[in-house]
């Protein structure tokens, strides 16, 4: 069926509540928390490194998914009408992500090598205006607070007209859904006006949110990854980081779209091959872009052969990190690129989900390699504990995304209107 065209009436459907999911999420959170506490008692440095890696990864994909939503608002994409809400669902993790940031802001010498280097290293002293704790705390907390606020507000704007439709259609039985429907539709202005207002505000906020996304994630990458080797710098690092986040967001949305499709016959019908194809194409494009950005950094540093620049790459291309680096390249580029090149793998749910998973694992490793080798002293390159601590974040992410999709309509009901004066698509000729 032609999934590309938006149907006139979108049925109200929710992600069905399941009895297994809360239990699974609880197990994940408990396991992750246990691993964190255990590592914290044994080796606080390792515990916090793993914590930061996981925070970077999960914040990346949550903000990336929201950035995808912003991008599709700007481009007025219509192919993704039934998976818009999936991207939006990741906004539920953002407040949690912000709370998880707060303990990180208390890290000092145990995480930032430049604090000690500041005492004796003249090169680091020159950077004191940027590398200092008060400014670090200020820019990270304010930046992420702003980013989370904008994204959550955008989610609210996108939800509001839907909830009005739900209310007008007789409301919902489920008390949780009813409560949130009530809560988010306060001060109702009438359906027509709400749609116009949401569309207008979203149209203005989306570009702003993307700019904020790029700037804040660049700062995050400088602070939590690049500054760990205080002499090293690379101009592309921020772009590499936030485009990776965007990519991870798209992969996560693809993953969640397939998940959604498997849960409910209605949703299975609405999320069709067109949507998967679109997400697959985006994932593939961003895979190529990731490789491009990686290569752009690598070739310039390799060719320039300046000692202080090479150090970062040499460290990661020697034992014990070489294996992980190669694995990252395979997971982030070779497998998804080869796999998603065709038309069929993008449209087939299981293969799209498989490659999305591969990408997410690869991206996790990439974030891991951005942080840990710079701080690591001895011992194995990676232990079971780092991924185990990630389970805490994974549990929280799954829980929040599931909650969002189960509480609000999983497919957006209202559709943005075309502008009154639309692009002339019926040309009397090419020129």
């Amino acid at each position: 069926m032609a999934q590309r065209q938006v149907p006139r009436e979108v049925p109200v459907c929710y992600l069905p509540r399941s009895s297994g999911a809360p239990a699974l999420v609880t197990i994940l959170i408990v396991l992750g928390l246990g691993a964190f506490v255990e590592t914290l008692l044994r080796d606080p440095g390792q515990a916090w490194r793993a914590y930061v890696v996981n925070w970077l990864f999960f914040t990346s994909i949550a903000t990336g998914a929201m950035a995808l939503m912003g991008a599709t608002i700007i481009t007025r994409a219509r192919w993704n009408w039934s998976v818009r809400r999936v991207g939006l669902a990741f906004s539920a993790f953002l407040p949690i992500s912000f709370l998880l940031l707060l303990p990180m802001l208390r890290l000092r010498e145990d995480y930032f090598p430049w604090i000690e280097a500041m005492a004796f290293d003249p090169m680091v002293q020159k950077k004191a205006a940027y590398l200092n704790i008060p400014f670090l705390i200020a820019r990270n907390s304010l930046g992420l607070a702003a980013l989370c606020l904008v994204f959550v507000y955008m989610a609210y704007l996108a939800l509001r007209p839907d909830l009005g439709l739900v209310r007008a259609g007789g409301g919902v039985d489920d008390p949780g859904r009813a409560r949130w429907t009530e809560r988010l539709t306060r001060g109702w202005r009438g359906q027509e006006e709400e749609v116009v207002r949401s569309q207008r505000l979203l149209g203005g906020l989306a570009p702003a949110s993307l700019i904020l996304f790029a700037v804040v994630l660049s700062i995050v990458s400088f602070d939590w990854a690049m500054s760990l080797e205080p002499h090293w710098f690379s101009t592309i690092f921020g772009a590499w980081f936030f485009m990776g986040a965007f990519w991870g967001g798209v992969a996560a949305v693809a993953w969640a779209a397939v998940y959604l499709k498997r849960r409910d016959p209605d949703l299975n019908r609405l999320v069709g091959p067109q949507q998967l194809h679109g997400l697959g194409m985006l994932t593939l494009t961003l895979t190529v872009l990731w490789a491009y950005l990686f290569w752009s950094q690598y070739i310039v540093i390799w060719y320039g052969k300046l000692p202080w620049e090479q150090a970062w790459i040499i460290l990661r291309s020697e034992a014990p990190w070489a294996g992980l680096t190669i694995l990252t390249l395979i997971l982030c580029f070779l497998i998804p690129f080869g796999g998603l090149l065709g038309r069929k793998p993008k449209r087939t749910p299981w293969s799209l989900r498989l490659f999305a998973t591969v990408i997410l694992v690869g991206l996790w490793l990439e974030r891991y390699l951005m942080v840990v080798p710079s701080l690591h002293d001895e011992g194995p390159a990676i232990t079971l504990m780092e991924p185990a601590i990630g389970l805490l974040f994974l549990g929280l992410l799954l829980c929040s995304v599931r909650w969002f999709l189960a509480t609000f309509p999983a497919v957006q009901l209202w559709q943005p209107m075309e502008e009154t004066e639309s692009v002339k698509t019926e040309p009397k000729g090419g020129k």
Binding site: A77, T235, A239, V300, K431
Partner: protein
């Protein structure tokens, strides 16, 4: 971008272009109608530009690269700047067309032809510039790796060479993409015109009939080429950026350069599309096709790319500071507040601040304002290239090596003229749509031949006769060339790498010799001029001379003439060159002086070796050859020598064999 309309969904879904291709007839007829006054004014202006362009470039070619402002430390100036600018326009023209196709943007219909025409015109400008900025254009073919008689290969590690491959691939694919896109148009035109044009269109249309099957294959091929072109644009323009970034010049060596350059190119390309389509729309009365809405979308894309560029600018500045490297900080400080501050701030304002106004819907929809904005942005991107190239070179590591560069009038005339050249082709294109697009590629080929042609000897000689200097003999310098004269009494290994005086041919002048041989040319050798034939061999064929001669022979002569001089054992013979035996009667009949002359300036197929083999080494080689031929008497100390020699005092010869061979080691 994916503004799917109802029409879009009912039609052929994967290739929304196809429907409108079928309706192109009327469009073509409109474009082929008589142009108005506006077109002619613009066209004449561009012709003036073309004249200026070639006059200025001709001046550079005849007078040498010295007439530009290029001087150590800034060896790359506005010519390279303009090359990168035009390459960017060419790349982004194809990128705009291809990527909008991939994104299935329906509004692409109205602008992609203009974008592609812009790209092709810009490719031709940039192609010429890649010859112009080389300086010695007759050496351009050295960049092409081909099996040659001296077994020399270009340096494959050089990004300049990557560019040769990249640009060749880009031109090939974009030409195919462009041509394929015009195929249905050519068929439509074929059915509507008569006379020679009909025959031409018939060939170009390649028997296109517009059947479903043809459209199907067309759609597949077009999609594939669009994807290929998009990837190529990204990689090739990244390579253009790496020609700067991989070196360690502060201000160039930056990891963000590849996306930075691609974004800058796209920005200028989008702006150029607006610059071009605004007058076009007026002249051809295309208001119905190019609506305000199209400009609105273009302006939004400009906004997007300008943000990427702004991000790059700011990151560069931040990282320069954050790096803590004094050299980096100094370089960027110099950019912002040094002698080139005006260029930097023009760049910042025009590519960073001016596009901010495009946030306003009113600006995006006011075509005059947009036109001005697009001009400013183009200027900003040009200055961006200028700032990157010139300020970085002028302010490298060593303070004593800092220096300023001021483009000469000639250089600026080339730059300004190139716009005339670009508009010349673009305007022609708009007039006579698909056919000329192809045939002018042939014109370009012929032009290229003409340009390379002067490298051959007869023209060279003609130039010496006319101007007193040839293309090989220039008031020019090479990078790292030491312009100081050689120390007294020293004997350089090879002649020719010292600058000659005005109106002197420096090819193969013997250094350190008080008596200077008269300059002569291949023309003199060809006519067996007495000056050459009766040259005196000042070197006695003693043992040391013969040893030296053998080394020279094996290094320079044997590859072609064979180690034994028989001609057929030369390494180049299998490559299809005719053998030239040195042991023939004819060769034996040559005088010493004549052989010397051949080595110095070349004869027939043999290239000149004057710049590689020094004066005395030439004589040593001649002596050795004589022994090989059996012409020379067995060398007896203090006894006679070949040729009409006057017998200068043996011991008094400067540059006697020992010194010569020492200096070569």
């Amino acid at each position: 971008m994916m503004t799917a309309s109802d029409e879009d969904d009912q039609g052929v879904q994967t290739h929304p272009d196809i429907r409108s291709f079928a309706q192109v007839n009327q469009d073509l007829l409109q474009m082929l109608s008589r142009p108005g006054k506006g077109w002619w004014i613009l066209f004449l202006l561009s012709v003036v530009g073309v004249v200026l362009f070639f006059a200025a470039w001709g001046h550079v070619v005849f007078r040498g690269i010295g007439v530009t402002g290029l001087m150590s430390p800034v060896g790359w100036g506005v010519l390279v700047t303009t090359f990168v600018f035009w390459v960017g326009i060419a790349h982004s023209g194809i990128l705009i067309s291809a990527i909008l196709f991939l994104f299935r943007a329906p509004w692409r219909q109205s602008i992609y032809r203009a974008a592609e025409a812009m790209a092709v015109s810009a490719v031709m400008t940039a192609g010429l510039f890649s010859l112009i900025y080389l300086g010695r254009v007759w050496h351009a073919y050295w960049l092409i790796p081909y099996p040659n008689e001296r077994f020399l290969w270009p340096n494959f590690r050089s990004p300049l060479l990557w560019d040769v491959f990249g640009l060749t691939a880009f031109i090939t694919v974009s030409a195919a993409f462009f041509y394929l896109g015009t195929l249905p148009d050519a068929a439509a035109a074929r059915d509507h015109v008569t006379g020679w044009r009909k025959r031409l269109y018939t060939i170009l249309a390649m028997g296109w009939r517009g059947t479903d099957r043809e459209w199907h294959h067309f759609g597949k091929a077009y999609l594939l080429l669009a994807a290929l072109a998009t990837l190529l644009v990204l990689t090739v323009h990244s390579v253009v950026s790496w020609r700067f970034a991989v070196s360690i010049v502060p201000g160039w060596h930056s990891t963000i350069f590849a996306p930075y350059f691609v974004a800058g190119a796209t920005l200028s390309g989008l702006a150029m599309v607006i610059t071009l389509t605004v007058p076009l729309r007026k002249i051809f009365k295309l208001e119905a096709y190019l609506t305000v809405r199209h400009f609105d979308v273009l302006a939004k894309l400009i906004l997007l790319t300008s943000l990427v560029v702004l991000y790059s600018h700011l990151t560069e500045l931040f990282m320069a500071w954050y790096s803590g490297e004094e050299v980096m900080r100094s370089s960027f400080w110099n950019r912002l507040f040094g002698p080139y501050w005006w260029a930097t701030w023009t760049m910042m304002v025009c590519t960073g601040l001016v596009p901010i106004f495009l946030w306003l819907r009113r600006v995006r929809r006011s075509i005059p304002t947009l036109f001005v904005v697009s001009l400013l942005i183009n200027m900003g991107v040009w200055f961006e290239r200028f700032v990157i190239i010139v300020t970085s070179l002028s302010h490298e590591y060593m303070p004593f090596a800092w220096g300023l560069y001021r483009p000469s009038l000639t250089e600026m005339a080339v730059v300004v003229g190139s716009f005339g050249w670009f508009f010349f082709w673009f305007l022609l294109f708009t007039r006579i749509l698909p056919p000329v697009a192809i045939s002018r590629m042939r014109i370009l080929g012929a032009l290229g031949l003409l340009l390379v042609g002067p490298g051959c000897s007869p023209l060279d000689d003609a130039m010496v006769a006319l101007f007193g200097r040839s293309m090989r003999d220039q008031a020019s310098f090479r990078p790292y060339e030491n312009p100081l004269p050689a120390p007294e009494e020293s004997v350089p290994f090879a002649a020719g790498n010292l600058p000659a005086g005005v109106f002197e041919v420096n090819l193969g002048q013997p250094e350190g010799l008080e008596e200077v041989l008269p300059p002569f040319t291949p023309l003199d050798v060809m006519h067996e001029a007495p000056d050459v034939v009766h040259l005196t061999n000042p070197v006695f064929p003693e043992e040391a001379s013969l040893q030296r001669g053998e080394r020279i022979f094996l290094r320079f002569c044997a590859p072609c003439h064979g180690p034994s001089g028989d001609g057929v054992s030369g390494y180049i013979i299998p490559a299809g060159y005719p053998p030239f035996p040195l042991l023939s009667d004819r060769a034996e009949g040559f005088t010493d002086g004549y052989l010397y002359g051949i080595i110095r300036v070349g004869r027939g197929l043999m290239p000149a070796f004057g710049h590689q083999v020094s004066h005395f080494d030439r004589w040593h080689a001649v002596n050795f050859l004589r022994v090989m031929q059996g012409v020379s008497r067995v060398p007896v100390q203090g006894m006679g020598r070949d040729g009409p020699s006057e017998g200068a005092g043996d011991g008094a010869i400067p540059g006697e064999p020992d010194a010569s061979s020492e200096s070569s080691n």
